[in-house]
């Protein structure tokens, strides 16, 4: 199938492109971007995208898809449908499935389900340690061989420094990246909210920023010693941004990301005890949020992720501290990123780069870019479409979003995956 999208504003940071032009796709790949069709190209279908924007399909470094297991709501089929409705076409799923993705068998199961769903790339991330228990190493080489794009501990960081040191040194000789969430469980204690004025007022058990920063300091030292390429997931503290900036300045091969909700919400949102705002790491102070935004602007923070965590209804129908942490994010990642652009917090190129080109480069995968011969994964956006994110229209099986009721400007009209339309607004 040959497809031409005409007269769109094409925004592709991977080739410094932001102009009104045409996109030509053939056999599931980008044939060319330009005002003229490539020689001999005759389109089976033409889409007039005058007034619309086209961006590469988003690459999300962390989204839980609910499969295998029943800890989380949803399935690979349902959550990939949610993803493409939000313009996300490459999804990395953390290993905290049930069973944990610590063997090739689980990796293959995820890949098979993803092939059946066939609406987006699903890139499994393997568990660094068996059962994510932080004690014995997983078959790391087998996991990579089986198709895992990275190793991680999801939300269960290795507490033993020695085990982590061994895991990093063992993995360093394999050409891969280790994703690390930094949280000292001892310092986190039984905390559920940022140790700020709001937790002081509400009497919510606090999580000190030191739970993140002291773990990050330890991990940076171990990463440097092992020489491995490391990616730090879901930073939440201003101090963490400074520490990563310093590490990068010293030439360490490190990158990092932030969850989109950390850029829009803060501890203030917890004031009404609404468990939809219960996330891990916790929503921190306005100062932390501003530092995270500044980190994205300066490039210290490389990527923005959804940290999509679909939960069962009952897991949120509890008092704040007893509820499960987590927010669904696949359908709101792009709308919230565009909101930050509209509010003047980020420029469009930086914003789109952080959800396309950079995350793909971190994993060394060929998506997140509209360069010639790359997979034709892209989203067509109506930049002026005004819509409200309402609960009934949520596609994900999880309905746990604090953004329900928010109004957005700019909506995904169509999403293409490998040159095929996988989402069309109002038609799903």
């Amino acid at each position: 199938m040959r497809l031409a999208i005409l007269n769109a504003r094409v925004i592709d940071p991977s080739q410094d492109l932001d102009k009104v032009t045409n996109i030509y796709m053939a056999r599931g790949r980008i044939a060319e971007i330009g005002d003229e069709a490539p020689e001999g190209f005759s389109a089976d279908q033409e889409i007039d995208a005058t007034g619309k924007w086209v961006v590469p399909g988003l690459v999300d470094l962390q989204a839980r898809l609910g499969e295998p297991g029943s800890i989380f709501a949803g399935s690979i089929a349902s959550e990939t449908r949610a993803a493409v409705a939000g313009g996300v076409t490459t999804i990395c799923c953390p290993p905290d499935t049930n069973p944990v993705n610590d063997t090739q068998a689980v990796t293959e199961l995820i890949q098979r389900r993803a092939r059946q769903a066939a609406t987006a790339y699903v890139m499994p991330i393997g568990a660094l340690t068996q059962g994510l228990e932080g004690k014995l190493l997983s078959g790391i080489y087998s996991l990579i061989e089986g198709g895992c794009v990275a190793l991680s501990q999801a939300n269960r960081p290795v507490q033993s420094a020695l085990t982590l040191k061994n895991a990093l040194e063992y993995t360093a000789s394999l050409d891969t990246v280790v994703m690390l969430r930094c949280e000292d469980q001892d310092l986190k204690n039984n905390g559920v909210a940022h140790d700020g004025p709001v937790a002081s007022r509400l009497g919510l058990p606090p999580i000190t920023p030191a739970a993140e920063t002291s773990a990050l300091a330890r991990d940076l030292v171990l990463v440097e010693e092992s020489g491995i390429r490391a990616h730090f997931s879901q930073l939440s503290c201003a101090r963490s941004v400074e520490m990563i900036a310093e590490a990068k300045k010293r030439g360490l091969p490190v990158t990092c990301d932030v969850a989109i909700h950390q850029l829009l919400l803060s501890e203030m949102d917890v004031l009404s005890f609404n468990s939809l705002f219960h996330v891990s790491p916790p929503l921190r102070s306005l100062r932390d949020r501003d530092a995270l935004l500044a980190g994205v602007r300066s490039g210290v923070i490389d990527a923005i992720v959804s940290d999509h965590t679909p939960l069962h209804r009952d897991d949120k129908l509890l008092p704040f501290g007893e509820s499960q942490p987590g927010i669904i994010g696949l359908e709101t990642l792009l709308p919230l990123v565009l909101k930050l652009v509209q509010e003047g917090q980020l420029d469009i190129t930086t914003a789109i780069k952080a959800v396309t080109q950079t995350p793909a480069e971190i994993l060394q995968i060929p998506t997140g870019s509209l360069q010639t011969s790359r997979p034709a994964d892209l989203a067509i956006i109506d930049p002026e479409g005004i819509w409200t994110f309402d609960k009934d229209s949520i596609i994900s099986e999880g309905k746990n979003s604090p953004f329900i009721g928010w109004e957005f400007i700019g909506k995904v009209e169509q999403t293409f995956f490998q040159g095929r339309p996988v989402y069309k607004n109002n038609e799903v």
Partner: protein
């Protein structure tokens, strides 16, 4: 951008009157004085005894204790009986939720048994808010302590005691000593004192027992008890829980008493007519010396008595607010109906 700086107050009805009592935060002075004045009316001025009144006859109150409590629960039960309500007390930690029944199912089941009011104690901060969010519109929730968040009736009875002894809370200097961090009582006391415009609220304790952001509570912090007690009118001692030693927040009871225990010598630093309060049960020789606890300036046992009158007041105010709202709504309906009729009789 998008942060909300003030949360809506879910405990007030359409007329701005108390519907639930979840926390004192966000309430106005008149909300508090109405309760304190009502409590006053329940105490016989001659005998100091608490009257039995028929105000809540035919109303059903359920005391749900998800966390064990003896004194609070008993005073609530006595208060409810003095108001002539039908009452039922349930220790939930030993019943339903242990069998895997969800928290909300438990609540809805009890609600179906025709409860008008729930008195709830729960180990999780925000639990009372959570219940208030999910009960039927005609059901009232009274927070009898949620996690480390709030214990509004305890704070109100403390204010009542201060008023009794000092005439007014206004312009007083109050020192609260001990485990501020883990205390829901202290959070509520601080809010009550600021609403009633105490001149100065001091908290005294080691850094490990103070919240990270005491300024968010609007208090002055002292680590040295001698300095902190100087010239205060009211001293509130807080109970020290055993767990604090186990989690290495302080070394030992003995050392705590040495540094923060209220002795006669330290009491002498406060104003000569200062009163000593404690929400009980007291740890003699840990936070307070027996000589002080049993001494002439101690009002600890009076607090317990007043606790009954204050809890009666809270419940009766909430129920009379509900009756007032119902009447208001009926009147509005009637006037809307009258308008409609008038229009029908005089078509233009």
């Amino acid at each position: 951008m998008t942060a909300r700086l003030t949360a809506p107050n879910p405990q007030l009805n359409e007329l701005g009157k108390l519907k639930h009592l979840l926390t004192l935060e966000g309430l106005k002075q008149h909300h508090l004085t109405e309760i304190l004045d009502t409590a006053e009316s329940f105490i016989d001025p001659n005998t100091n005894k608490i009257k039995k009144v028929p105000l809540l006859r035919g109303k059903s109150i359920m005391n749900l204790f998800f966390e064990p409590s003896t004194r609070t629960r008993t005073t609530f039960e006595i208060a409810e009986k003095r108001l002539s309500a039908d009452i039922e007390s349930l220790d939930i930690q030993t019943s339903a939720t242990k069998k895997g029944e969800s928290l909300l199912d438990t609540l809805w089941n009890l609600q179906a048994m025709q409860a008008d009011m729930f008195v709830i104690r729960h180990a999780e901060s925000g639990a009372a808010h959570f219940f208030a969010q999910h009960v039927a519109p005609h059901v009232h929730v009274l927070n009898a302590g949620d996690g480390q968040h709030a214990h509004p009736t305890q704070a109100l009875l403390d204010m009542f005691t201060i008023r009794k002894k000092k005439g007014d809370v206004f312009d007083l200097k109050v020192a609260i000593v001990g485990d501020i961090l883990h205390s829901r009582v202290v959070r509520s006391q601080i809010q009550a004192l600021s609403i009633l415009e105490a001149r100065e609220i001091r908290v005294i304790g080691p850094k490990t027992l103070l919240p990270e952001h005491p300024e968010a509570l609007g208090v002055h912090v002292y680590h040295d008890i001698e300095e902190g007690l100087k010239d205060v009118d009211v001293i509130i001692m807080v109970r020290l829980q055993n767990e604090r030693m186990k989690s290495a927040l302080i070394p030992s009871e003995k050392e705590f008493f040495k540094r923060y225990g209220l002795t006669e010598k330290r009491l002498a630093l406060a104003k000569p007519d200062a009163i000593v309060m404690h929400p009980g049960p007291i740890n003699r020789g840990v936070e307070i010396d027996s000589a002080v606890a049993d001494g002439p300036q101690s009002v600890i046992l009076e607090q317990v008595t007043y606790g009954i009158a204050v809890r009666m007041a809270v419940m009766s105010v909430i129920m009379s607010n509900a009756a007032q709202l119902a009447q208001h709504q009926a009147e509005q309906e009637q006037s809307a109906l009258a308008e409609e009729n008038a229009e029908m009789e005089n078509p233009q």
